[in-house]
């Protein structure tokens, strides 16, 4: 337990030893592995990490981490985590949630954790389905998704997680794909280092109830042409031959995919990513369509004072009094002889 050994932690040190009970082939395994590989890089000892989850497949996550963990109730992880962080700001507090947990039953808590900017690392495992209850449509299911609860196809419009987070006032919004370990770890690292609420949408495949829901942009043969990896200060360029990019159409105020070399397009025409720009972040969060790439990486990062740091500063500024007799005797008193 002494300090030097902590710095030499490996991913194995973060495995709790409890048997992992997700379905074979579940995307959750990949995220678990990525987190276990990331944590040694954070430089924090095991006891400083706390994983708080709600209910759902992904919310079993804390049981598999050899850190502190709290598997709470459906949708409420951001609220419990807020209480943990305000009570001990030295802890790195992670929220593990899913699309049903975090955006349906717990949507309100997500909204308020983000707009308050509590220093939480929120990982939203988005598989666009209710897995643990056996495959009902979720708030991120595409319209027309046929499930036992929507036999004729779902009819409600899905929530766009990144756009929701932006609207809620989140100051850090990122996206990653479960099986793309290197970039997932990069994004998680950025989320961990960000002070304030970090919102990470992880596209996660449910092999049983929604297999292949993201195949159109995650399958190996199409991924390079359907994903754009965002890097601050660099042009938004992608493609198997690295010849595609995103350009701002000044007439529609939208990002549009273009090919370098066609119609006179050069790299200079591409939008350079500025992760501090909320207007750009909104365009990226809303970018959809069969011909458009899915923006991955850090869409938005504009740090500001976190709620917990303000609370801590207020407490630090207050003198700590313990004399209960003086507390009771504040205000008007009188003596009976």
């Amino acid at each position: 337990m002494n300090a030097p050994s902590r710095l030499e932690l490996t991913n194995k040190d973060f495995e709790s030893g409890q048997e992992v009970r997700w379905c074979p082939g579940c995307g959750d395994y990949a995220v678990l592995k990525a987190v276990q590989r990331l944590l040694p890089m954070t430089g924090l000892p095991k006891e400083r990490h706390v994983f708080v989850s709600g209910i759902g497949c992904s919310s079993r996550f804390p049981y598999y981490m050899a850190t502190y963990g709290f598997h709470t109730i459906h949708g409420r992880a951001p609220a419990v985590a807020t209480g943990v962080k305000l009570s001990n700001p030295d802890l790195a507090v992670w929220v593990i949630t899913g699309d049903g947990d975090g955006l349906s039953i717990g949507g309100n808590h997500m909204l308020h954790a983000l707009r308050r900017n509590v220093d939480l690392n929120i990982l939203l495992f988005n598989n666009a389905i209710y897995g643990l209850t056996k495959g009902q449509a979720s708030p991120t299911s595409a319209p027309g998704t046929r499930t036992p609860s929507t036999p004729e196809g779902s009819i409600d419009a899905p929530v766009r997680p990144a756009a929701f987070a932006l609207g809620a006032g989140a100051r850090f919004i990122a996206r990653a794909v479960d099986t793309q370990q290197a970039t997932l770890i990069d994004v998680l690292h950025r989320a961990h280092d960000h002070k304030g609420a970090s919102f990470v949408e992880i596209f996660q495949n449910c092999i049983v109830y929604n297999d292949g829901v993201y195949a159109s942009f995650t399958d190996k043969d199409v991924a390079p042409d359907r994903q754009v990896w965002l890097e601050h200060g660099k042009p938004m360029r992608y493609g198997k031959d690295n010849d595609k990019g995103l350009r701002l159409n000044p007439r529609t105020f939208r990002l549009e995919p273009v090919t370098i070399g066609q119609d006179g397009v050069t790299e200079a025409d591409l939008v350079v990513h500025d992760e501090t720009n909320d207007t750009l972040a909104h365009m990226l969060a809303m970018l959809e369509g069969d011909d458009a790439p899915v923006p991955l990486g850090v869409l938005y990062c504009a740090p500001t004072t976190s709620y917990d740091s303000t609370v801590a500063a207020q407490q630090a500024a207050a003198p700590r009094r313990r004399d209960l007799n003086s507390l009771l005797r504040k205000g008007k008193t009188w003596v009976v002889q």
Binding site: G69, T72, G83, N88, D90, L327, K332, T333
Partner: protein
């Protein structure tokens, strides 16, 4: 109709008790008038009890009966335990206030009314067919009509206030007059007004002038019905006193409980009537290690408090019935995770949104039983505003000793009412500091104290003690998720065993008035203490042997309760609900109890309890 002591009062013979009620529109400042008069009453060494009675609407349409706000105070010699059954003096600012309150008056009571407010339209608006001053509906009373609005205007306008601003001071004019009637020292009241309006000195001075004008009017008007009335002062135990409301006493008790157990306190809460004043008090106590968090909803409020307890603070959440309903699932989590939590319910009238500003005791079943699964939570109840202090300390101690959520029940009446409080010496309170699990103590997170069954409180951040917990059933020893059937039985037994452990640590239930066995025991809980106690004391004075047993602990009951009740021929249970404690008592003691139930949103009157006692004794 009982008759008013005021009618027969002489200038020399002091009255034992007087009940005064101020009533007006919800924007007329009646609550302020009442609370300032209460402060003056306390400083004049009277015992007292108050009852703020106000509508849910902040500023209801003027002149309507549903917009009437009232503040009642009963004061006099020692032993004032209720706000008074019926007022001796009613001060009304408009016809609606008269309409609503006249029925409650004693015969011979005095009514002071603002005649400027009795225009034709206002009289109609209040629902009177004709001017009540012109018919015989007020015949049993002494009516003093004064043009209070114009008198206030005359006093305030020279100080530069507009007509409208001046009119707003009419409650203070009335206060001045009533201060004169009861021979009060104006100096501390003037000081209080100057403090209240310190940001607007011209308004402060206008109010002082108006107060003095009201006082001078009493002095000089020579209206026979306006007399100085000596009232007996109280001879309480020597010591230091202040007035306190239940909301403030609860807040202070929670802070004291945290300090006595060596913890900082975290309040997660959401605004709700009538619980919000607890948040307002605690939000100002950061110096005493209090963090307050106004969450996005009731659920987040309790969940944040649970998160705080998990991380080593004393988690507290405060609410009222509808909010408690929303917290229910989270309470199960706190039970399952074996974490301390104090849940304060300032009960109001239900069901649903119900009567937000009125009082009731109808959330007892909700506290004792209202959860999925076998999910026991200890329930304790405060009986008066100042008693909330000790009740809150006890709630904290049970929560941390047994690692469990605890319900503390107060109600709208206790929360808002104020009474004199003989300030305790906190150095005499037993400290019970919590010990958190340490890396080297050789214990596990799920090792439990054999007496209390409280588990080892293990804080995130402690090296080497990393553990996982949650709402899934867990293995008794390791805490790992377990669906094993024998283990679930064992964990269920552990949770109910904790209630037995709490019961074993309770002091024996005592009889607070009357013999320890006999013909009749009146068994009550919560804010019915005042009227029940007075009624039982009076019955004993009248030669009847009646006992009063007041329960602080409702879940679990004190172990001797069954035997204690077995010593009485009849047990009468008065409650402001349809018989919730009565049912619990019958189930627990397997004996029949008599019920007295009142669900009007108003506290019991002493006379109502007395009548029930007489009726039981005669049958």
């Amino acid at each position: 109709m009982p008759s008013s002591a005021l009618a027969a009062a002489t200038a020399t013979e002091a009255l034992d008790r007087v009940t005064v009620r101020f009533a007006g529109d919800s924007g007329d400042g009646m609550q302020l008038t009442g609370s300032i008069f209460t402060e003056s009453t306390a400083l004049a060494s009277h015992d007292l009890s108050t009852f703020p009675d106000y509508p849910a609407e902040i500023r209801a349409p003027t002149g309507t009966t549903y917009g009437v706000s009232a503040y009642q105070i009963n004061f006099g010699a020692q032993g004032v335990l209720t706000a008074g059954d019926a007022p001796d003096l009613l001060v009304v600012m408009n016809p609606a206030a008269l309409m609503v309150n006249v029925a409650a008056l004693k015969a011979g009571a005095t009514i002071i009314l603002d005649s400027d407010a009795f225009g034709t339209r206002a009289i109609e608006r209040a629902g009177y067919a004709t001017d009540p001053r012109g018919d015989d509906s007020l015949a049993p009373f002494t009516v003093v009509e004064l043009p209070i609005t114009s008198l206030t205007q005359q006093a305030a306008q020279p100080l530069g206030l507009s007509k409208r601003e001046a009119q707003r001071c009419k409650n203070v004019w009335t206060l001045g007059l009533v201060l004169w009637m009861f021979d009060r020292d104006r100096a501390p009241i003037i000081e209080a007004l100057r403090t209240k309006f310190r940001k607007a000195p011209e308004v402060a001075e206008a109010n002082v002038a108006v107060l003095n004008a009201g006082h001078a009017y009493g002095e000089t008007a020579e209206i026979p019905a306006l007399r100085r009335l000596p009232v007996t002062r109280s001879l309480p135990e020597p010591g230091l006193y202040r007035t306190v409301t239940g909301a403030e006493a609860t807040a202070l008790g929670l802070v004291a409980g945290a300090e006595l157990t060596g913890l900082d306190m975290f309040l997660g809460t959401y605004p709700i009537t009538p619980a919000s004043p607890m948040l307002h008090h605690l939000a100002r106590l950061r110096d005493w290690g209090v963090t307050t968090f106004q969450a996005e909803d009731e659920i987040a409020a309790v969940c944040a408090a649970i998160g705080a307890s998990y991380a080593g603070k004393l988690g507290v959440t405060t609410s009222s019935g509808p909010g408690i309903a929303l917290k229910t699932e989270a309470l199960g989590l706190a039970i399952s995770a074996e974490l301390p939590l104090v849940v304060v319910n300032a009960q109001r009238g239900g069901p649903s949104t119900g009567l937000p500003t009125k009082t009731e005791q109808s959330d007892l079943f909700q506290a004792v039983m209202g959860r999925n699964g076998d999910a026991p939570i200890p329930v304790i109840a405060a009986r008066s505003p100042s008693d909330s202090f000790d009740a809150a300390i006890e709630a904290v101690k049970i929560a941390v000793r047994h690692m469990t959520p605890v319900f503390l029940l107060i109600d709208g009446y206790i929360g808002n009412a104020s009474e004199p409080w003989h300030l305790p010496d906190m150095d005499t309170y037993e400290r019970a500091p919590v010990t958190f699990r340490r890396p080297d103590d050789g214990t596990g997170a799920f090792d439990r104290d054999p007496e209390s069954l409280g588990r080892q409180w293990t804080l995130p951040g402690t090296p080497g003690l990393e553990y996982r917990i949650g709402g899934l059933e867990k293995d008794y020893s390791t805490g790992a998720v377990s669906y094993d059937s024998a283990n679930h039985q064992r964990m269920t037994d552990l949770r109910s065993g904790k209630m037995d452990a709490i019961a074993r640590a309770l002091p024996p239930q005592e009889v607070c008035e009357g013999p320890t066995s006999g013909k009749l025991a009146v068994v009550a809980w919560g804010s019915t203490y005042g009227p029940v106690h007075r009624a039982v004391v009076e019955a004993n004075r009248a030669g009847r042997a009646v006992s009063h047993i007041h329960l602080r602990h409702i879940a679990p009951f004190a172990p001797n309760l069954t035997d204690l009740l077995a010593g009485f021929d009849t047990v009468l249970v008065p409650e402001m609900n349809t018989g919730q404690l009565a049912l619990l008592l019958q189930a627990h003691t397997l004996r029949k109890v008599e019920r007295l139930n009142k669900v009007t949103g108003q506290p019991f009157k002493i006379a109502e309890i007395s009548a029930a006692i007489e009726s039981v004794l005669e049958s």
